[in-house]
C-alpha cells in the first residue's frame, strides 16, 4: 500500500486534542463548571472537525494510506509511531468524532465531579482515536488498553444500576480479551523474522498456515470479546445499563466497533489463511448472535437492556459481513459499523434525557412519553425505526449489503438473519409503544420537553443518520476504495 | 571402627549433630529450643568444614577461619533471634511456635 505523508500532522492533532483538554482540565477547579464543560467541548470539537476534514479530504483516486505520520519509537523492538487514514478507518474516525462531540453535549447537565468525569472521558476517547488510526501493532494494542481501562472508573463512579458489579465485570472481561490478543500479536511478531510491529510489513510476510490458524483464533476471540461476538457478549448489556449516558454512547457506539475493526484490520489482514479456515465458524457465531440478540431483547423491560441486546444483534450483522469475505460483505460490515454507531449513540442519548428526569427506565412505568415530551420521544422513535431497518436511514443500506452477501456465502445463516428482521421490528416497536404511546403516566406529566440546546446533539446524530441514509454512496465510495485492494491482497 | 585418623568419622559426627539439630528445629515448640537446635546445626557445619580442611587440604587452614566466622555470625544471629523472641513474647505472652500464626490465610 502506498503511503502519502501528511504535510500537517492532522492525525496527531486529532489524537492529542483530547490530551490537551485533559492537561488543561487538570488545572481547573470543580467550581468552574462552565469552563470545564467548554474545555471538554472544544477539545472534542477540534477532534470532530479534524475527523470531518480527513473524511472529506481523503483522495479516493489516489488511494493508499494518506495523512501518514511515521516516527520510529523503540528501534530495538521495531516499534514505530505509524498512523494513517484510508477508506476503512476514515468513517470510524468520523464516527468517533461525532459521538464524542455529541456525548459531551449530552452530559452537559452532569452535576457531580464534572471535571474528573471529562478527564476520564477524554482519556478514553484518546485511546479510541489511537486505535483507529494506528498501523503499528504495538501502538494499536497500547491505545486499545487506554480505551478499556478508564471504563472501570467511569462506570464505578458515575454509573447507575449495579455499577460495581458491572464495572468489574466489564473491565475484567475486556482484560481477559486482551489477554487473548497478546499471544496472538506476539506470535506474529516473533515468527515473522522481521522484528517489527509494523502491520504493513507484516502483511507481506507469508506466515505458516498453522501459525495463521492459531493466531487468528487468539486474535478473533480476543477482539471478539470487545465486539460482543456471541457467546462473549454478556458484559455488554450489563455494562451499558450501568454506564452513564455518554459512556454508553461511546462504548456501544464506538468501542464495540473497535473490536470488529480490529478483527478486520489485524486478524483478517495478517492471517488470511487463518481467516479462510475459520470463516464458517465466524459466520455461525455471527448468525447466532443476530437471532439471539433480538429474541432476548424481546423479553427485556429496561430500556437500556433493550438497546444493549439490540447492539449485540447489530454487531452480529457486522460479524456476518466480515465472515463472508466478499467485497459487498466487507463494505456492508464497515458501513454498518458507522451506521449502527450513530444509531446507538442516538438511542442512548435519547434514553439519557428521559432517565435524567424520570429516574426510571422501566418500559412498563414510562407510558405516553410522546404526549409529555414529543420531541425527545421523536428522537428515540427515530432511532427505533432505524434499528428496525427502515430505509432512508443509514443502517438499511448496510444491512442490505451484508444480508445479500451473507445469503450468497452462507445461505442458511443468511436467510435466518433475514428472518430475524421481523422480530427486530417487533421488539423495537413494542418498546416504543409501551414507553411512548398510550396513556401518559401522571407521575411524569410535568416534565418539560427538550430545549434547543439539548436537542442539538440528538439532531446532529439524526442528521448524519439520514444524510447517509439518503446518500449512501458518499460513504460507500470511500469504504470501497480500501476494501477492494484489501480483498485483492488476501 | 572409630578411626580418629579418618575423614569419615568426623563427617558422621557432623551428620549426626546436623540431624539432631534439624529434628529439633522442625519439631520443637519452644522458640528458644528452636534457636538452640539452629546453633547445633551451625556447629555441625563447622565440624564439616574443619574435617575437610584437615584431611583434604591442610594448607591453608581455611576451615578453621570459617569456623570462627560461623561463630561470629551465630552470635549475631542469636542476638537478633532473641530480640525477636522477646517481641513475640510481649505480643503473645508465650513463646510457643504453634501460637505465632498471625499470617494464616
Amino acid at each position: 500500500m502506498t503511503e502519502h505523508m501528511a504535510s500537517f500532522p492532522v492525525l496527531s492533532c486529532m489524537l492529542l486534542a483530547p490530551v490537551a483538554g485533559i492537561l488543561i482540565l487538570l488545572f481547573l477547579k470543580e467550581e468552574q463548571g462552565f469552563l470545564v464543560r467548554m474545555v471538554a467541548l472544544v477539545s472534542a470539537g477540534i477532534s470532530f472537525a479534524l475527523a470531518i476534514y480527513t473524511f472529506v479530504g481523503y483522495d479516493k483516486t489516489l488511494g493508499g494510506l494518506q495523512f501518514v505520520e511515521k516516527y520510529p519509537w523503540v528501534k530495538a523492538f521495531g516499534i514505530t509511531y505509524f498512523v494513517g487514514v484510508e477508506g476503512m478507518n476514515a468513517p470510524l474516525l468520523l464516527l468517533t468524532g461525532i459521538v464524542i462531540f455529541t456525548g459531551v453535549l449530552t452530559m452537559w447537565e452532569l452535576k457531580e465531579r464534572v471535571r474528573e468525569y471529562f478527564i476520564f472521558q477524554l482519556a478514553l476517547v484518546t485511546g479510541v482515536f489511537g486505535v483507529f488510526m494506528s498501523y503499528d501493532m504495538f501502538f494499536f494494542f497500547l491505545f486499545y488498553e487506554i480505551a478499556v481501562v478508564p471504563m472501570y472508573i467511569l462506570i464505578l463512579i458515575w454509573g447507575s444500576t449495579r455499577k460495581i458489579y458491572a464495572a468489574m465485570k466489564l473491565t475484567l472481561y475486556l482484560m481477559a480479551g486482551s489477554g487473548l490478543i497478546i499471544p496472538g500479536i506476539l506470535m506474529l511478531y516473533s515468527s515473522s523474522g522481521l522484528f517489527t510491529f509494523n502491520m504493513l510489513q507484516l502483511h507481506g510476510v507469508a506466515f505458516a498456515p498453522w501459525i495463521q490458524k492459531i493466531a487468528f483464533v487468539f486474535l478473533f476471540l480476543g477482539f471478539g470479546v470487545l465486539a460482543a461476538v456471541w457467546p462473549f457478549h454478556t458484559w455488554s448489556p450489563v455494562g451499558h445499563v450501568a454506564a452513564p449516558t455518554a459512556v454508553s454512547m461511546l462504548h456501544a457506539g464506538v468501542l464495540m466497533k473497535l473490536g470488529s475493526f480490529a478483527i478486520l484490520r489485524v486478524a483478517m489482514y495478517l492471517c488470511p489463511a487463518g481467516f479462510q479456515y475459520w470463516a464458517q465458524f465466524m459466520g455461525l457465531l455471527a448468525a447466532v448472535g443476530i437471532v439471539y440478540g433480538v429474541f432476548v431483547g424481546l423479553a427485556q423491560t429496561d430500556l437500556k437492556y433493550v438497546i444493549g441486546y439490540s447492539s449485540v444483534s447489530h454487531m452480529g450483522i457486522v460479524g456476518l459481513g466480515l465472515a463472508t469475505g466478499t467485497i459487498d460483505g466487507l463494505n456492508g460490515a464497515v458501513f454498518q459499523m458507522f451506521a449502527h454507531g450513530v444509531m446507538t449513540a442516538l438511542f442512548f442519548s435519547a434514553v439519557g434525557y428521559i432517565y435524567d428526569r424520570t429516574h426510571t427506565r422501566d418500559i412498563l412505568q414510562l407510558g405516553g412519553m410522546s404526549k409529555i415530551m414529543p420531541v425527545a420521544s421523536a428522537f428515540f422513535i427515530t432511532a427505533a425505526l432505524c434499528g428496525a431497518g427502515v430505509p432512508g436511514m443509514a443502517s438499511f443500506w448496510a444491512e442490505l449489503l451484508v444480508l445479500v452477501s451473507a445469503v450468497k456465502v452462507f445461505p442458511i445463516r443468511g436467510l435466518l438473519a433475514i428472518a430475524s428482521l421481523v422480530i427486530g421490528a417487533l421488539f423495537a416497536l413494542r418498546v416504543v409503544q409501551n414507553s411512548f404511546f398510550n396513556d401518559p403516566n401522571p407521575k411524569f406529566a410535568h416534565f418539560e420537553d427538550v430545549t434547543p440546546f439539548l436537542a442539538l446533539p440528538r439532531m446532529i446524530l439524526i442528521g448524519f443518520m439520514i444524510f447517509f441514509g439518503l446518500f449512501p454512496q458518499v460513504m460507500l465510495a470511500l469504504i470501497k476504495s480500501s476494501i477492494v485492494p484489501f480483498i485483492q491482497g488476501m | 571402627m572409630l578411626m580418629f585418623n579418618q575423614l569419615e568419622t568426623y563427617l558422621y559426627l557432623a551428620l549426626v549433630l546436623f540431624a539432631i539439630g534439624l529434628y529439633g528445629v522442625l519439631s520443637r515448640r519452644n522458640l528458644i529450643a528452636v534457636l538452640i537446635s539452629v546453633e547445633l546445626m551451625l556447629n555441625a557445619a563447622s565440624i564439616n568444614f574443619m574435617a575437610f580442611n584437615r584431611f583434604l587440604a591442610p594448607h591453608p587452614a581455611v576451615g578453621q577461619v570459617i569456623t570462627l566466622f560461623i561463630m561470629a555470625v551465630a552470635a549475631a544471629e542469636a542476638a537478633i533471634a532473641l530480640s525477636i523472641i522477646m517481641a513475640v513474647y510481649r505480643k503473645l505472652k508465650s513463646i510457643n511456635a504453634e501460637q505465632a500464626t498471625e499470617l494464616r490465610g
Binding site: 458484559w235 439471539y292 424481546l298 412498563l364 432512508g392 445479500v404 422480530i423 460507500l476 | 504453634e98 500464626t101
Partner: protein, 682 residues
Amino acid sequence: MGSVDCLFSICTAIVTLPLLAFALIMIFTWRQAKISLAISLTCSTISLILAWYLFITVRDVSLAHPIIRQVEWLVSSEGFKIPFGFLLDPVSLLMLVIVATISWLIQVYSIGYMEGDPGFARFYADLSLFGMAMLSLVSANALLQLFISWELVGLASYLLIGFWYEKFSASEAGKKAFVVTRFGDIGFFMGLAFLTIYFGTLDITAVNLAGLKNTMPQWLLTTSSLLIFCGVAGKSAQFPIHVWLPDAMEGPTPVSALLHSATMVAAGVYLITRLFPFFAASPTTCSVILAIATITLLLSSTIGMVARDIKQVWAYSTISQLGFMAMGLAAAGLIGGNFFPGYYHLTTHAAFKALLFLCAGVFIHHFGTNDFFVMSKLGGRTLKIPMITVTIGALALAGIYPFSGFFSKEAIMGVLWSLPSKLWVGFGIFGAFLTAYYTFRVIFVLLFPRPDHHKAWGEYYEVPASAHGHGAAHSHGHGPHGDFSHDDAHAHKDTPPGHQHDEALDPHGHGGEGGHGVPWVMSLPLIVLAGFTLVLGFLQGRLQGYLLGDHHPHELNTTLMVLAVGAALTGIGMAWRDWGAKGATWQGFIRNFPALENFFIKKWYMDDFWRWFLDTVIYGFFSKWFTYNDRRVVDGGVDAVAFSCSGGGRILSFLQTAFLQYNLLFMVLVLAGLGIYLLMGL
C-alpha cells in the same frame, strides 16, 4: 435525450416534492396547522398536475418500449449496484395518476375531517411521506427501489394507523400492521436476495424479459416468485396474513380511504401486474396465488357479512376484492392471458372503494360512531350527498351495470371462466353474491331504519359510550404484549380522544357546521370519485388499448354475464329481504346457522391463532428460553469463571498455615529433593 432528461426531472419532482413537504413540516412547522397544510397541499397539487401532464403527453410508450431513466445510487462492487430511477410505461403512468389523484382528493377531504385535531400538521406530514413513497413505488425501475418504497409505505402506514397514539388500540394496530407486513416482507427480501445472487440483476424489465423468454432456471423462477408473493400477501392482506388490515381501521378514515383501500394495499397487486411475465412464467406460483386469493375472497366476505362497524365491512370488502384481483392475475398467468382484467379492477376499485370509505367518514364525522346501525337510528339517510354517493359506490362494488365495477368484475370472471376447471369461476360468482349481500346490508340498514319500537333495536342500538361523556372504549393492554383481537360485534370508534367532549354536549353529532350538513371540502371528493365510478366502466376499451397496445374486441360471454349479474342481484335481493324490506327482521340469513355465524364473528379464529403464535411460540418459547440461556448459561458461565477464580484462591489459601515449622519443613524437603536430583544427575 433532452426530453428524457426533462422527463427525469419531472418524475423526480413528482416523487421528491412530497418528501420535501414531509421534511419541512416535521422539522419546522409541526406546531402550525395552517402552514403545514399549505406546504403539503401545494406539493401534492404540483405532483398531481405533473402526473396528469405525464399521462397525457407521454404517448409513445408501450410495454415493449418503456422509457427508463436512472442513476446509480449505490455501487458496492460490480455485482451489486442499486439504481434509483423511473420506468415509464402505460402501467406505471396510469398508476401514477391514480395515486396522485386519490392522494390529492384525500388531502382536500382531510381539511374538513381532521379539523381541530392537535396533530393536524403531523397528519399532513405523514400523508406527504406516504405520497412520496407510493409514487416512487409505482414508478420504480429496479426491484430494490420498489422494495425500499414498499418499506417506506409501510412506515407511513404505521405512523398513520397509530396516529392517535394515546389510544392503546390505535398504537397496537399500528404495531400489528408493521410487524405482520414485515413478516411478509422478509419473504420479499429473500426473493430479491436470490434474484440478485443467481440472476444478477433486479431490473424489472430484465426480470420480465427472462420470464417471457424463459431464460431463468425454473427453480429460481418459482422460488423467487413465491417469496416475492409473500411480500404481496403481506401488503395486500391475503390469507393468512390479512389480519392487520381490519385493525388498521383504527386510523382516521382518510387514511383508511387512501392507504388501506385504494393505494397501499393495491401495491401488492400492482407488483404482480408489474412483474406479470415473471409471475406468469411459473405455473406453480400462479396456482398458489390463485388458491390463496380464492380463500381470501371467500373468507373475508363471510366476515364482512356479520360486522357491525362500517369501516370493518369496507375493510373486509377490500381484502376480498384484492383477492379477486389476484385471482384474475393468477388465472391470466395460468392460461396465457394478460394482466388487464386484474389491473382494470384495481383501477375501478381504487375509485369506488375510496368513495365508500370517504362516505363512511362523513357519517362517522357527523354521528361520532362507526356502528352503522346506530347511524341508521340517528338518521343516517338524511345526509343527501353522502347517501347518494355511497349507494353509487355500493352498486359499483356489487357489480351492477352501468357502474365501473360491473365491467371490471366481468373481465375477471371472463378470465376465470377460461380456466380448465369451472370451480374457480364458481367461487368467483359465489364471491360476487356475498359481496352484493354484505354491501347492501349496509346500504339498506342506513336507508331504511326500523321503526322506533322495533325489537331489532334491542340488539343493534347501543348508546355509544361517548354520549355520556366517557372516553372511548379503551382496551388496556395486559402487560407489555397487549391484546390484538378486537371483538367486532361492538362498534369501534375511530374518533380521537379529544373529540369526546363534543359528544357529551351534543349526542347527535358535532354542533356548528356539522349540523348544517357536509362541508364542501368533504363532499367535493365524494362527487369527483362518484364521477369516476360512473365513467370508468365505459373507458374499458380505451384503457385496454392504452395499456396493452391493441384493441381486443370485447367478446360477450352471455352465460357468464347472466350468472354474474344474477348472483349480484340475488345478493341484493337477499339483503333487501333481510334488511331493507318493510317486514325485514334485521336478522341475517346466516342466523340460521349459529355455529357459522359465530365462526365468522370470531374472524375464523385467525386473530386468535396469530395471538397464540406470538404468545406461545415467540414470547413463550423462543424469547423465554433464549433469555434463560443468556442469563443462566452464558452469563452464568462467565460468572462461574469469576467465582471459581475467587473460590480457587480461597482454597489455595489453606496452604498458608503460618506455622513456622511447616514452612521450614517444606524448605528442607525441597532442598533435599534438589540435592538428590543434582547428585543423581551428576
